[in-house]
Symmetry: C3
Subunit: 273 residues, 3 copies
């Protein structure tokens, strides 16, 4: 292959031990010309939803034909299959445990296959307790060298998707959603999109936000619009509603995490005819 491709790694392995580097060694041995990029290795152990969230945010930013390795896999060594799929221009290798759910919502699925051909694996392959090294890495190396997804194995009849929390719009236009992810800054990122708010309430800036029933304040355009230490809501870089504290941690301020209730409504006094 003439072009050098990118292979990314997204795991819950942590940075201390040998696991991440074992995968990298295998990748660089089998596909010497790839560029490796760490997405994150600090997904909480087995936290499939957090892996799904980070994957959705990151994937659309990469060049075409990037191969993403996802190993957030609390059920390694069970019947759970390993899959490979092409979403838009991106290729993803991932365990069939729902970690693909948010990508599946937002990018077109072009092809998908069960990673099944044992000739592609290292060591004990599917029976390995370290499928990241023995299955995902060698398969990703082949994909990065141009091996087509559909030749990895059969197309699955179905694959697992998470039951994601839904948003609801009340009769009064109030939108109810949930916190989907808490980032490194302690920001509470919801599943309520800017578009949803705009359609239900006719605008976003100035709308009133609550977190688990406690007042956050009105939606502003940036963190700096409130004083340091004060809470705020904004439409973040992902085009979803986020609850934050300027130079502080919203997760501490509101004692809230994944699953906390977020609601958005017109400010009092503006709803009447």
């Amino acid at each position: 292959m003439a072009r050098e491709r990118i292979v990314t790694l997204l795991t819950d392995f942590g940075w201390a031990g040998p696991y991440v580097a074992e995968m990298k060694g295998v990748l660089l041995t089998l596909a010497p010309r790839v560029t490796l990029v760490d997405i994150s290795h600090n997904i909480g152990p087995g936290d499939i939803l957090a892996g799904a969230f980070v994957l959705r945010q990151v994937v659309p930013n990469f060049p075409p034909d990037t191969v993403h390795c996802v190993v957030v896999d609390p059920s390694v060594g069970t019947e759970r299959r390993m899959l490979a799929a092409r979403y838009g221009s991106q290729i993803i290798v991932f365990p069939d445990n729902g970690v693909i759910s948010l990508v599946d919502e937002s990018m077109p699925l072009e092809e998908i296959a069960v990673v099944a051909d044992p000739r592609l694996f290292l060591g004990e392959g599917e029976k390995s307790t370290f499928q990241g090294r023995d299955v995902v890495a060698p398969v990703a190396a082949r994909l990065a060298e141009g091996f087509p997804v559909h030749r990895l194995g059969p197309r699955p009849d179905t694959f697992k998707l998470l039951e994601l929390p839904e948003t609801r719009v009340g009769d009064d236009g109030e939108i109810a959603g949930e916190v989907l992810y808490v980032d490194d800054f302690g920001n509470l990122i919801s599943n309520i999109t800017a578009r949803m708010v705009g359609e239900a309430l006719g605008g976003v800036l100035g709308m009133e936000v609550l977190c688990d029933g406690r007042a956050v304040g009105k939606v502003v355009a940036a963190y700096g619009f409130v004083k340091a230490g004060e809470p705020l809501a904004l439409v973040n870089s992902m085009d979803v509603l986020e609850v934050a504290v300027n130079k502080g941690r919203a997760c501490d301020r509101f004692e809230a995490g994944v699953g906390a209730k977020i609601s958005v409504r017109k400010p009092a006094g503006e709803g009447g005819p």
Copy 2:
């Protein structure tokens, strides 16, 4: 461009979430041939002084024409501008919040510009709540491909520098300074240079050091010169005075952090005529 350049990333984003990888995806999309290097993503949230310190240490070690992306930016989304500058052979893109202060002290400023041309930005550009991805990354990609700093925008009349703690030399030659940074090992790194001590006291080894008034001991040549668990002072790899504990954490031992007072003097009995 014939030569492959290096782009580094220095942020307070942490390693868990998607933000670092989003920047990397943008960089590799717009400048496919760059080599990415992580400097640190564990600068304390919004800790401009720590960012400034790490930046000063790292920048002089890189090859000419390296582009450094600095996103330690507690005021994102306010009037704060994004700047790009060439210091010596190095190019740095950074928020105008003082994070450049220590580089500015130690390397010659060759050119500087406000990052202003919106055609270089992604998404909402300067109005984005994620300027690392939408402003810094695309601008750094262009710079890595040879785009000149001065074409990014106008030269600023002035730019922000931190008010850094000063060192003082007393009548008796005693030098008073402060801890500027605490490293991963808990070492207390001061703003007192070896040269300062040499000029004021006629030598460095054997001088007496205090931390917040408590005796540290005499300046030695290496950690191993005192027993495990014992405190020491030395001239570190940055040519500044550092208070450490051999195989221990000085920040715990002296209950000290950034801003703690460090003083250096001739040992008692050696000061007389």
Copy 3:
């Protein structure tokens, strides 16, 4: 040199400060075409055994002629020498403090030298308090460009190896070993190999395991063979016996760490004639 080589970094520097990036800057300045790979920078400060363990796991997975930089070095600045060696197809630069011990057990030593030629060093070289940047990085850069190990300096008469815990097989075939490493998941990784168990007990699956005298259960094939929260033992990806908790942390469950006693025996009722 025609081929681009890989240089890895394994340190106890942590990810926050400037030290890792200073090494990278030196490496990329002196050997612009190398590919850098982070193995880990979160080895516990001065934890030579943990460094030795991670090194053993990672090294065999890398392509031939990879150069590994190891800076887990609690005695920097003392008489301790820096060594470089070729084990199999891999080159390693490391302090003479025993961190090579587990590689030395498992891969053939081809050549070894004291890193002695001061013309290869930066700054103060061997007297530097930051030998990672001033000795290891420039030497690794030269090795990556094809400089031969034996020209770095004299062959040492001897070099330091750790006194590793031994395994014992009792008269009844019971095997006694120890925990050698605790990984990011809290798994307790022992020094008992699958082969040892097979030879002493005639098989591995179904054997009974104890941790510090407390029952772990029988050896199973994968984490998923027990319920979430339940302990298990298995032969891990390193072919050694590991004590784990499915979706939990064995180190917490058994209040055990490095040095905890692990024993393996035939299950009661199966040992008789």
